[in-house]
Amino acid sequence: MINKKVSSVEEALIGVTNNMTFMLGGFGLSGIPENAIAQLVKLGVSGLTCISNNAGVDDFGLGLLLQQKQIKKMVSSYVGENDEFERQMLSGELEVELIPQGTLAERCRAAQAGFPAIYTPAGYGTEVAEGKETREFDGKMYVLEHAFKADFAFVKAWKGDEAGNLIFKGTARNFNPNMCGAAKITVAEVEELVPLGELDPNQIHIPGIFVKRIFQGAVYEKRIEQRTVRQKST
């Protein structure tokens, strides 16, 4: 097997420089590459374009990079819950491109799968489609959306092995599988790096061919954004 394991987050992020474009997995704070983000803060790289469904909260997730003014542009579908984000956006310091969530997923998948562009109905007739090619198929209108191009994809999985095979857990899966192999270099961090052969080949969500480097994250906070519970009836 081709060994993708690197020993540390430092090694995993070798080659990261200013002004790069990154894809980052996660929905809200669920399934975000916590260790890669922490390392990006440490490296202090700036001028970044980040493709990520959300932008974290003020003191967690991509919010940590926003605090340090490392991000030049966000490409997201939803960016609430973040005061510093709002300040930078309204002041013009931060460029924001909002795109539909399904379009975001599929532009990642197109990059992964070697498709140059896709036709999606999402956003037709809205400002999202402005300046874009539109086209009718079978009486319905579609917008042409192009595959993303990114330098690094940072994804987070539940379990992985040295071959780079990944298994995700629950809704922490989200965009992570679609971003694997969608950038020049895909870095996967996992909660648990298991010995080769331990993962059932039938049950691998993303085969290692889509992953360039894999490491076990040192620590995961896995913060909950909206803790909602019900009471046990007595």
Partner: protein, 217 residues
């Protein structure tokens, strides 16, 4: 006049046996509480889960199991998790039977605006544009008028659109309306609301044919 729970209760009656349903944030979320217990319905959340159950008991929350509102949830037997691409395959591919979402404005031709107010902080459309562009059966849950008393059922949306000609039905605190080629067709009145009340609160073309029954909740 209905309150938010009343709107949810009325919309719940539109949910049929065997439906896969996507619920938006706000009033639509409340719909789950009122769906009849003798029918089988599965709730999909676009962040990647089908077969959502109730909120977890305290202490049983899992950061890896949330809904599109980022709330901790549980799943029912038969549930499944999947990635974002497959999730929107369900939506775009019209496998989800019913989409219920909120709106700031709905136009008489079915246009909907629910994601952006110029000059204000824009949070983004999330999955709403995918949902409205693809769903065959979209019900909007909203107040009939805004906080200043202005109608939200318009001839033409004033806010940036989320989707064009897509809304099929609107349930407000005052009425149930169907979007037809000729405009909003009034189907039902909320308890204690007259047709004239509805006419006064509706800027878009309102079609009133015959006697309009009061909602049965």
């Amino acid at each position: 006049m209905l309150d938010k729970n009343g709107i949810a209760k009325r919309i719940a009656k539109e949910v049929q046996d065997g439906y896969y349903v996507n619920l938006g944030i706000g009033i639509p979320t409340l719909v789950a509480n009122y769906v009849r217990h003798d029918i089988e319905v599965e709730f999909q959340s676009e962040n990647g889960v089908l077969g959502m159950g109730p909120f977890p008991f305290e202490g049983e929350e899992d950061a890896d199991i949330i809904n599109a509102g980022k709330q901790t949830i549980t799943t029912l037997p038969g549930a499944s998790f999947f990635d974002s691409a497959l999730s929107f395959s369900m939506i775009r591919g019209q496998h989800v039977d019913l989409t219920i979402l909120g709106a700031m404005e709905v136009a008489e031709n079915g246009d909907i605006a629910n994601w952006k107010i110029p000059g204000k902080m824009v949070k983004g459309m999330g999955g709403a544009m995918d949902l409205v562009a693809s769903a065959e059966n979209i019900i909007v849950a909203m107040m009939h008028t805004n906080k200043r008393g202005a109608s939200k059922l318009l001839k033409k949306c004033s806010l940036p659109l989320t989707g064009v000609g897509c809304v099929k039905k609107v349930v407000t605190n005052m009425a149930v309306l169907e979007v037809t080629p000729r405009g909003f067709k009034l189907l039902e009145r909320a308890p204690g609301v007259s047709v004239d009340d509805i006419r006064n609160a509706t800027e878009g073309r309102l079609i009133v044919e015959g006697t309009i029954p009061e909602m049965v909740l």
